[in-house]
């Protein structure tokens, strides 16, 4: 409960800190209460105000978060508040009043209000990216597509992925049709199932996106989690220049008690038959992988492809 309360309290600051539109909404509420309290639509105004108060006060906010099954973040309890409707309503009221029913002759009073409202709306949206790094996402996607192209060319030579340790596999094996089980860096796995759903993965996006864990009761085994941690270290210690990352890499592997050989064996047990590693992987780690798998990789699209 204490955590929920803290979440509700911090959530309000998060919402107002990020979205300036909330400030505009509160001003709109004030404007409507002062100037249009007796209007026909005060039912909506009363409801909007009460709902907003319920979302702001932490105790009622917690009740609302419990009501929405805790599955959604604090931000989503604001769904019950007609933020856009009431703000647009207040804006329309202000404009209609100053333009005197949108008459051309009233431009002296109407134009400044219009410009002011426009500026307020524009100033609310100071961030342009909306948390989406489009450039990076596109580059990653292109990379995943080129890997997929290579995999498709080679697909015929892969042995079928073993899935013997799972329930109900026999029922769906025929329908699945996927014969490639791929283990690759996170930025590749992020896109691969969206591009080709016939490819199987030892772990998916739900490994690093906690929210996705709520969609199923399945959890990853410790072995698979270690595979993920090992791959993270591989990605972190990729060398863009001549700087030798070997010591850092060894330190990280030791710190997390990871062994390359064990991870390769775990991968085989998980049914992985295609391991993809970045071309700029630390040389000593690459040698270790080659020794553990007994496979000489092929090089294409900036990656090493190991057929296990």
């Amino acid at each position: 409960m204490a955590e929920l309360l803290r979440n509700a309290w911090m959530g309000w600051f998060r919402v107002t800190g990020g979205a300036k539109i909330m400030g505009l909404f509160l001003i709109a509420l004030l404007f409507l209460w002062i100037g249009y309290r007796q209007e026909k639509q005060r039912q909506l105004l009363r409801y909007g105000t009460a709902a907003a108060l319920c979302c702001i006060v932490p105790v009622t906010a917690v009740a609302l978060m419990l009501y929405q099954t805790r599955f959604y973040d604090y931000e989503w309890i604001w769904s019950i508040v007609p933020v856009t409707v009431l703000t647009a309503y207040a804006g329309t009221k202000a404009l209609a009043e100053h333009w005197q029913g949108f008459r051309r002759e009233a431009w002296r009073k109407g134009l400044p209000v219009t410009v002011g409202l426009l500026a307020a709306a524009l100033l609310c949206n100071v961030s342009d990216d909306a948390g989406i790094d489009r450039k990076a996402a596109r580059a990653e996607r292109v990379e995943a597509e080129s890997i997929l192209e290579t995999v498709r060319e080679e697909a015929g030579s892969f042995p079928s992925a073993s899935k013997t340790d799972e329930k109900g596999v026999s029922e769906i094996a025929a329908a699945e049709g996927g014969s490639v089980c791929m283990w690759a860096p996170r930025k590749v796995l992020e896109h691969i199932r969206r591009l080709d759903s016939s490819i199987l993965l030892p772990y998916g996006r739900n490994m690093w996106e906690e929210a996705l864990g709520a969609y199923s009761y399945d959890i990853y085994s410790e072995e698979v989690e270690k595979m993920y941690q090992w791959m993270c270290i591989v990605e972190e210690t990729c060398t863009e220049n001549d700087f030798d990352m070997t010591d850092i890499m060894i330190g990280k592997l030791e710190e997390q008690e990871l062994s390359t050989r064990e991870c390769m064996e775990a991968a085989k047990r998980a049914g992985v038959n295609l391991l993809i590693l970045p071309e700029n992987i630390n040389r000593s780690l690459l040698d270790e992988v080659m020794k553990a798998t007994g496979v000489r990789p092929e090089q294409a699209s900036g990656y090493y492809f190991f057929e296990l």
């Binding site: 919402v15 990020g18 300036k20 539109i21 505009l24 639509q41 039912q43 009363r46 409801y47 009501y67 959604y72 931000e75 769904s79 019950i80 007609p82 933020v83 856009t84 409707v85 703000t87 647009a88 309503y89 804006g91 329309t92 404009l95 029913g101 949108f102 051309r104 409202l117 524009l122 949206n125 342009d128 990216d129 909306a130 948390g131 989406i132 996402a137 596109r138 899935k163 799972e166 329930k167 109900g168 596999v169 769906i172 329908a175 699945e176 199932r193 759903s197 016939s198 490819i199 993965l201 772990y203 996006r205 996106e209 929210a211 996705l212 969609y215 199923s216 009761y217 399945d218 959890i219």
Partner: protein, 353 residues
């Protein structure tokens, strides 16, 4: 991205929804009229539109009612397939059958309405022709501004915006349905069979099946349908819902209604920079259940409550339960409807005392 097929699919879905909704409007009309005659069934009397001519249902009401019906058909086909262990192909056939039957019913109702109101309509047309006013230049300018802003937003959705997929796996889910020809048979994240299964409340959410059916029927990829066609459909439906709100708030003034819509478009732009704001949902996450709820169902529900059509709000509440994972289906639509009903009651009590 295949733009022309995506736009064609969106157009077809919008037309289907509008047609289905028109059929439903005819049912509401006759139900309301018969209730008004008998003066005993209050539930159906709420469907009648005797209070204010501006509160009469129009294309926007028809479109959103069609969206609600489409959700109803999708959940019926989806639940039938899930709980009888049918394949996804069978689910598509069930949906197509239900949709065909609903369209046939809508056509019959429409025809019946047209035939029974031929005389009234011709008189109405004559009256409208006699009383037709020259459009106001201010209204024309405002309408022009609105369309420019809306088109810019639509172009942004189709070409530039990108999609926010964090915390969501709809594309993968739809792709896994199509790949395995089954519903929730494999974990969409890995493609492997579920060991522990999924929550049953999640199992009845029908949007992935609906999008999968669109993919099957159109031949488009899951990514094109989920990240382009559906967001445009939701985008149009959303502005139709806000149009209904504008119509309810300003029944007497068309210019104020357009101004309200312009303000809405601007607020969408303004809110597009922050996660969970309406603008962000509309532009970057148009395919999500919460977006459809927040930007189509809730605004429409608000407009229904203002117009005192309480009966129809039940449809919004039920539709939300089919697309959003909330506490036993008791979601935001229910809270909003109850809140607005209480506010209305308080006002009425205040007036009578």
């Amino acid at each position: 991205m295949e733009f022309i097929p995506v736009l064609l699919l969106t157009l077809v879905v919008l037309c289907l929804c509008a047609f289905l909704g028109s059929g439903a409007m005819v049912i509401f009309y006759f139900a309301g009229r018969s209730a008004a005659k008998k003066r005993r069934n209050h539930f159906f009397s709420t469907f009648s539109h005797r209070q204010n001519p501006a509160h009469k249902p129009d294309w926007a009401d028809a479109l959103i009612t069609g969206d609600l019906i489409m959700t109803g058909l999708a959940v019926t086909a989806h639940v039938a397939a899930v709980f009888t262990g049918q394949s996804f192909s069978r689910c598509t056939i069930i949906f197509a059958g239900l949709l065909g039957a609903a369209l046939f019913l809508a056509a019959v109702l429409f025809l019946f309405y047209e035939l029974s109101h031929r005389k009234e309509k011709s008189e109405g047309n004559r009256h409208a022709a006699n009383t037709a006013k020259k459009p106001d230049p201010a209204a024309r300018i405002l309408t022009g501004i609105f369309w420019i802003l809306v088109l810019a937003q639509m172009i942004c959705i189709l070409w530039n915006a990108g999609v926010y997929t964090k915390g969501d796996m709809t594309v993968e889910t739809v792709a896994s349905f199509l790949q395995t020809d089954g519903i929730y048979r494999v974990d969409p994240m890995t493609g492997r069979a579920y060991a522990g299964g999924i929550p049953s409340r999640l199992k009845i959410l029908c949007l992935p099946s609906l999008y999968g059916v669109f993919c099957r029927l159109s031949g488009l990829s899951p990514e094109s349908v989920v990240t382009a066609a559906v967001p445009v459909w939701v985008f149009v439906s959303s502005y139709a819902a806000f149009f209904c709100v504008g119509k309810s708030l300003f029944p007497e003034n068309g210019k104020k209604r357009i101004c309200f819509l312009i303000m809405t478009v601007l607020l969408m732009w303004a809110g597009s920079g922050f996660y969970s704001m309406d603008g962000f949902d509309l532009i970057y996450c148009g395919y999500r259940g919460v977006t459809i709820r927040n930007l189509v169902f809730i605004p429409y529900l608000i407009s229904l409550c203002i117009r005192k059509k309480w009966g129809q709000t039940v449809l919004c509440i039920m539709a939300e339960a089919c697309i959003v994972w909330t506490f036993y289906g008791l979601g935001a639509c229910l809270l909003t409807a109850v809140g607005l009903l209480l506010a209305e009651r308080r006002l009425r009590n205040g007036r009578t005392s």
